[in-house]
Subunit: 353 residues, 2 copies
Amino acid sequence: MADMTNSRIRPETLHAFCVAAMVKSGLREADARITADVLVTTDTWGTFTHGTKHLRSYLRKARAGGIDLQAVPELIGEGPAWALVDGNKSMAMAPSVMAMDLAIGKAKACGIGYAGVRHSTHFGAAGYYAAMAVEHDMIGLAMSNVDANMTAPGARGSVIGNNPFAYAAPAGEEYPIMLDVAMSAVAAGKIYAAQALGKAIPENWLVDDDGLPATDIRDYPRVGSLLPMAGHKGFGLAVMVEVLAAVLTGAAVTKQVRPWLGPTIGELTDEGHAFIAIDIGAMMPVTEFKARMDGMIREIRGAPKAKGSDRIYLPGEMEWERRTDALANGIPLPPDVLASLQGLAEDVGLEGL
Amino acid sequence: MADMTNSRIRPETLHAFCVAAMVKSGLREADARITADVLVTTDTWGTFTHGTKHLRSYLRKARAGGIDLQAVPELIGEGPAWALVDGNKSMAMAPSVMAMDLAIGKAKACGIGYAGVRHSTHFGAAGYYAAMAVEHDMIGLAMSNVDANMTAPGARGSVIGNNPFAYAAPAGEEYPIMLDVAMSAVAAGKIYAAQALGKAIPENWLVDDDGLPATDIRDYPRVGSLLPMAGHKGFGLAVMVEVLAAVLTGAAVTKQVRPWLGPTIGELTDEGHAFIAIDIGAMMPVTEFKARMDGMIREIRGAPKAKGSDRIYLPGEMEWERRTDALANGIPLPPDVLASLQGLAEDVGLEGL
């Protein structure tokens, strides 16, 4: 671990390691670079649950036949402001970046663009794709359905995924606004973390197979369903993502989506994704928009603080601050991510970080 | 109240009354019909907090100078897939319907369309505009910023509106999916209702001016701020609506938006709205999309029920069932709506319903 200082790792070192692991596994270098960029950027934001930690599982899934590293994503339809991409069972970051690029190009020409993806799988952090739009002075939205892991008001058991939804918008001197949320009260990752530590969870995270609050989480995810955030609101927004990302794209819907790991590791999950880009400059001078964003951000940040609070964070502000630190000082990878990367190195016969 | 049976009123009777009240107040008949359609449709859904009950206040605001009944909404910019409308202080339903129609037209040509509105005011229920897309076999999104009435994690006092967000999507034999939600844990209307009844409210609805749970609501909205739904998630989604509906359109942002009633009744609120339409037929045969929607809806509805639940409602299902009943048997207007309409009749010198 020669490049680490204070248990930190340089982003470019981590990126090179990830590319090497993917290329050694048989993925084209261009797609390996795209995938590494998605995962390492996510780690720089401190969103370690969705970053390079997953690469070992993606490649394990590829070896099991659930991802085809030879597959090439394909543009199967387009119009002035829309496009549809078939992931063809490829590593999901390739069709996702391709689709967001298409949405951005369509938005440049028309003002707004939509691109959908079908026959895809776990695409990492939705926020990465939303943030791509920001580099083009656009507003970006990104979303995906996932396997049904969440219940609905009145239901017992899972009926729909806790479908992630992200957006990002550029500011001027301030960091871009960015939000990446799942439609459940908490992400499944928090439950796995509690599980790993043998901790109990609050009553509003999970229901058991009777639809009652689950506190014994030893058998999750075999037993238990996530609760939607804000009840019918989170459920209703999960349905919106399902419609835009899966019903409309031809991907698998709700219970037809396969979990990406576990017994179905060898199968295509057949998730769908949706990406929307809106070109700010078509509607308003970009400098004016950014000044308006800065004004809003500063007004909210400067508002009176609640008792016990000394700061109000705008959406994405914590992530961009962590990224600034990570680019300057290295990414402080937590032990579980390091362990996963070491395991990956052994899996594919690389020297490790 | 000749048309009422069992305290119900025919939608067309209510519509005619509303048109008459607006025309008598000086609004063009075409815009009066548009506004009445928005408000009466909302009542047929049972969303009485956002329907004809507000008409008295809209016209009171017009008399005070906060809405200009002579104003004509204006298309001030457009491209292949986008449009921008200046409400010019008009009754907000006119520029809103105009903008959603523009978004639908752009989507027909390009696959997706965005239309923004600025210099507008309270536009009623966002769900109405989203549902307009469904009649064109499109998916519709509609949203608005409102005056800052909601706090943020870490803040004391209001920093942003509980900005409403709605979407709708057509199905085949099933009702369309439709969701219309505010980004607060509960809508302000629920607090006004508790206030009117002298009831206490749960701890997670409102914070007082110290940022602590408010249970004494006698001075709301002068004292107290709504809590976002699901904490930072609801706050972050409210910021998204603010960006798409206000920062991008040139409308007032956050604290610059004026409350539509109260001391600022005589001023333009300067809210902004955003509408997006997505043309299903561009991407997939409409019959196939609708069959996929029906499949998803039936799968979720047919899922095992939680203990104590005998039904799972899809988003919008309750509203469409109420509408079916209202069209057949009349709208069961609650006493507060009837009282408001009677007051309106007196205000403008009409005979009443």
